[in-house]
């Protein structure tokens, strides 16, 4: 067990390798209840959310979700989040490590008629992810096939009500289920029991980090933070200045006009050379940046990493070196994502979406 944003979480249930491969080949079940969940209610909720986030939430119909960023006035990324628009109001899912900061951020910007309720502890969140997730989920309710990517609906697992969205953080097709915390254990057991013979496994943080990294999905605190703007994180596609004013709009437009100072690139490493967060990245004796995330991919069979480097300094196919165990390990710049799984696509780019 490891501490993750104040939550005690399993790095693995059995083995990271087995769990990772189960997610890529069958399906894996993640407990992601550590992520923060807020309900936003009140007459001017749309205008309020629209003012906080970068993407255009006015485009959302009821039953649709959208990947978003919160920016500060300098266009630094305060957090990334998914915004849900339901018939009964708005809902957001934020990173565990930012829950308290984000709650304060939402509340301090809310007009008097908008209420922000922290539902993190009453409502659990589990993610069932993999190419066979739809087939293997014991589900009764809204026809799963009719739920589009980033859409959501309602139904039951083992007779227990769940809100289900076709979202995730692995690059695979799959779902996230919001279930009452006092019943989630039954839902968890029912999904595992139903899928056991097909090879479904519970999956921990290790498999979650490896699958999200293969899919090149950013992790706040590693690949971006309040000193990084959306263009530097490769998330410019989430920024819609034409929608009207929002926090950080002026700065983000300026950042876009000036062009990013750095960029995120994907690196493929030699077996055994795991590039760790913070390791120096250089080319021809010149330091270009640092590793933001790195792990061994049991699925691809080699280590992979994301690096934040000087803008335009590295292209796909270029060679670089990364400091690994005190020596220079060779790296090749490769196209992102490292692996494109079974996830359905939006018309927009899917890299960088969020679970």
């Amino acid at each position: 067990m490891v501490d993750f944003g104040g939550w005690e979480m399993p790095q693995q249930y059995s083995s990271i390798r087995d769990e990772h491969l189960a997610v890529r080949k069958v399906a894996g079940l993640f407990d992601v209840s550590h992520m923060g969940r807020f309900r936003v209610a009140g007459d001017s909720s749309l205008e309020f959310v629209q003012h906080l986030v970068t993407n255009d939430v006015a485009q959302l119909a009821h039953g649709q979700a959208q990947y978003n960023l919160l920016l500060n006035e300098d266009a630094g990324i305060v957090d990334d989040l998914v915004v849900y628009r339901g018939s009964e109001g708005w809902f957001v899912v934020v990173n565990a490590s930012n829950r308290e900061k984000d709650l304060e951020w939402f509340r301090s910007h809310a007009p008097s008629d908008v209420e922000i309720e922290d539902r993190t502890f009453e409502l659990a969140l589990i993610a069932f992810q993999g190419p066979r997730a739809q087939e293997l989920l014991p589900w009764q309710g809204a026809a799963l096939d009719s739920i589009p990517y980033f859409g959501f609906g309602h139904g039951d697992v083992a007779g227990i009500h769940a809100l289900i969205s076709r979202t995730g953080y692995t690059g695979e097709d799959g779902f996230e289920l919001f279930v009452s915390s006092d019943r989630v254990g039954e839902v968890w057991d029912a999904i595992l029991e139903h899928g056991r013979s097909a090879g479904v496994l519970p999956a921990g943080l290790g498999a979650r980090d490896a699958t999200r990294l293969e899919a090149a999905l950013r992790l706040w605190g590693n690949d971006m933070d309040e000193t990084v703007n959306p263009y530097e994180a490769g998330l410019g596609w989430t920024v819609k200045p034409a929608k009207g004013d929002f926090i950080g709009r002026e700065a983000v437009q300026r950042a876009r006009a000036e062009g990013p100072r750095r960029q995120l690139v994907g690196l493929k490493m030699q077996p055994g050379d795991i590039a760790r967060h913070g390791a120096a990245v250089s080319s021809q004796g010149r330091r270009l940046g640092v590793i933001t995330s790195g792990t061994h991919s049991f699925f691809l069979g080699y280590p992979i990493a994301l690096a934040s480097v000087e803008a335009r300094s590295l292209q796909v196919g270029d060679r670089a070196v990364v400091e690994v165990r005190g020596r220079e390990a060779p790296a090749e710049v490769v196209k992102l994502p490292f692996y494109r799984g079974s996830a359905r696509s939006l018309s927009e780019k899917k890299e960088g979406r969020h679970g």
Binding site: S15, I16, G206, P271, G272, I274, H296, F298, P303, R325
Partner: protein, 125 residues
């Protein structure tokens, strides 16, 4: 089979005459998590007691490997280059790391099973 002895730094050794076999303990592998790579020396190299001879890399972290005994390396487990996960699945069997021809007697402060168990219980806290 000779009795297995342990170090406080979570290596194990079995000694049969002048021949020793070493590896890392079950506790060590469980703490490291999935092992993905071992950087190991060549046959013939001489190791001192407590000398660092390689690196074990898991998904979580890279750690140095120490030899609990002094001697000359007589064999390196070649299977680990293709299947490093043997260190996780069978740390005392197919997951052995090196064989050595001992130089002198093994150190007297190696731990027996009961003493090592106390070390791991303290470490697990």
């Amino acid at each position: 089979m000779a009795e297995r002895r342990y170090t406080k730094t979570h290596e194990w050794v079995t000694v049969d005459g002048k021949h020793a076999t070493i590896g890392i303990t079950d506790f060590a592998q469980s703490q490291l998590g999935d092992v993905v790579f071992l950087e190991l020396p060549s046959v013939g190299r001489k190791l001192g007691e407590r000398e660092t001879f390689g690196v074990i890399e898991s998904v979580k972290a890279a750690s140095d490997l120490y030899s609990p005994v002094a001697g000359r390396i007589s064999a390196v487990n070649d299977k680990l280059s293709g299947k490093p996960e043997l260190v996780n699945s069978d740390p005392y069997g197919d997951g052995w790391i090196l064989k050595l021809e001992l130089a002198g007697d093994p150190p007297s402060d190696l731990l027996d099973e009961a003493a090592y168990k106390k070390v791991t219980e303290a470490a697990a806290g």
